[in-house]
């Protein structure tokens, strides 16, 4: 891509209201339209994303090893893991639902963590990948991320509804907490990543001389709101 990015042109986009402003590195800018803080790139975006990603990867282990749900049917305990729940659904013959649960609670989190990892590694080691493919993958990751909450919701519905002592009691297991954390962490990781970092091939901020700025931007613009 040989067109200019907004950063190279000394501009900054307000991520909240999508208005465009002139950028000056010495001034903390605030959007004159909606009042949001302006950053050419979110501060510490990569560090935050790495931290949240690693946290979610660690939590993914207990989420899959520990029991996520315990079904006590006429006094007989039957604890199951995430995969166990999917296998149970297959045994019940409801393949489509088994597939949906499998996708939401196994494929989506794994794909999401690997996808973010791949993007971060490609930025770290400056691997040449198609910008368009990377951003498409990231958008897809952002879009599907919330669907892995499915298993948490199923457990919370079942645990709340099936609570007839002596006959059938369903309780949530500790993996539910871990898995909930995984989902939250991956969502936070995706939202803390600044996609504009993907366009940066040159690391330095383009500095413009002062007279390039509009007069209103030479002083902090806080008094506009």
């Amino acid at each position: 891509m040989n067109s200019m990015t907004g950063k190279e042109a000394g501009l900054v986009l307000c991520t909240e209201c999508h208005s465009i402003h002139h950028y000056h590195p010495d001034i903390e800018l605030q959007c004159t339209c909606c009042g949001a803080e302006l950053h050419q790139r979110k501060p510490n975006s990569l560090n935050r994303t790495w931290a949240l990603l690693i946290t979610s990867m660690i939590l993914f282990i207990p989420a899959n090893v520990l029991t996520i749900m315990n079904v006590a049917y006429f006094g007989k305990d039957d604890p199951s893991t995430i995969i166990g729940g999917v296998i149970l659904l297959i045994q019940l013959g409801s393949y489509s639902v088994a597939f949906v649960v499998f996708v939401a609670s196994v494929i989506v989190p794994v794909f999401k963590m690997l996808g973010i990892l791949m993007i971060l590694l490609s930025l770290k080691f400056k691997i040449n990948m198609s910008d368009r493919q990377r951003i498409k993958m990231f958008r897809f990751i952002e879009f599907i991320g919330r669907w892995s909450m499915l298993d948490i919701f199923v457990i919370s519905i079942l645990a709340a509804l099936v609570n007839i002592s002596g006959v059938a009691v369903i309780t949530a297991g500790s993996a539910a907490t871990a898995f909930g954390c995984v989902v939250v962490m991956t969502m936070l990781a995706a939202s803390s990543f600044d996609t504009r970092l993907l366009w940066d091939t040159k690391p330095d901020i383009v500095k413009l001389p002062d007279d390039h700025l509009e007069p209103s931007l030479k002083k902090p613009v806080n008094d506009h709101l």
Partner: protein, 195 residues
């Protein structure tokens, strides 16, 4: 970077760098959104407090509403699961509807307050944490899991929840954020000139 362009009604503008849709023209977005938002808010109370389904297991009947379910989880000390469920299936969707209602209502009656800008920003910030649709799929999966051991009867809460889901999807898809920002900024500038 591409320059701001005037485009014909009904057409859309795509970014040549990344293929993201930049702008799409639609009509009457504010009043449509307002109508859908009010519909969704009407559905909200029964959807949360009425029973979602009734379980008939060997003669034992049990029914549960959304809010009751969260309470049971709290009693069983699954705080994180309870809080997550409460936030993403009830509080965030309600908050988003209220914010959207305030913004679209103020715009349609020509009222402006600077907090509206903040409200609309918050509305976008919490977007992905509202998970009505995921919860609906969760209900369906739970029903399939339960069918093997009990009889299920849908309650009024389920229909209200479906209504809430449809109305809020319509509300969030009919709104055009660019247009709302443009209108809000126009009002803001008018107000500053007058005062």
């Amino acid at each position: 970077m591409i320059q701001n362009q005037v485009i014909a009604e009904g057409s859309k503008l795509e970014c040549p760098r990344c293929g993201h849709v930049l702008y799409k023209q639609r009509q009457d977005t504010i009043s449509k959104t307002l109508a859908y938002t009010i519909t969704a808010l009407i559905f909200f109370y029964p959807a949360v407090t009425e029973s979602i389904m009734t379980l008939n297991m060997a003669g034992f009947l049990q029914q549960q509403s959304l809010i009751g379910g969260a309470r049971v989880l709290l009693q069983e000390h699954y705080y994180l699961v309870a809080v997550l469920t409460f936030l993403s299936s009830m509080l965030v969707p309600l908050l988003r509807l209220i914010l959207l209602f305030i913004v679209t209502f103020s715009l349609s009656v020509n009222y402006f307050h600077k907090n509206l800008l903040w409200f609309f920003r918050l509305y976008h910030h919490i977007e992905e944490w509202g998970m009505l649709d995921v919860y609906m799929l969760g209900i369906i999966v739970s029903v399939v899991k339960l069918l093997s051991m009990a009889e299920i009867e849908p309650g009024f809460g389920l229909w209200a929840y479906a209504g809430l889901l449809i109305a809020s999807i319509l509300a969030t898809t009919s709104i055009n954020p660019h247009e709302v920002w443009e209108l809000l900024l126009k009002r803001k500038n008018q107000q500053e000139r007058c005062s």
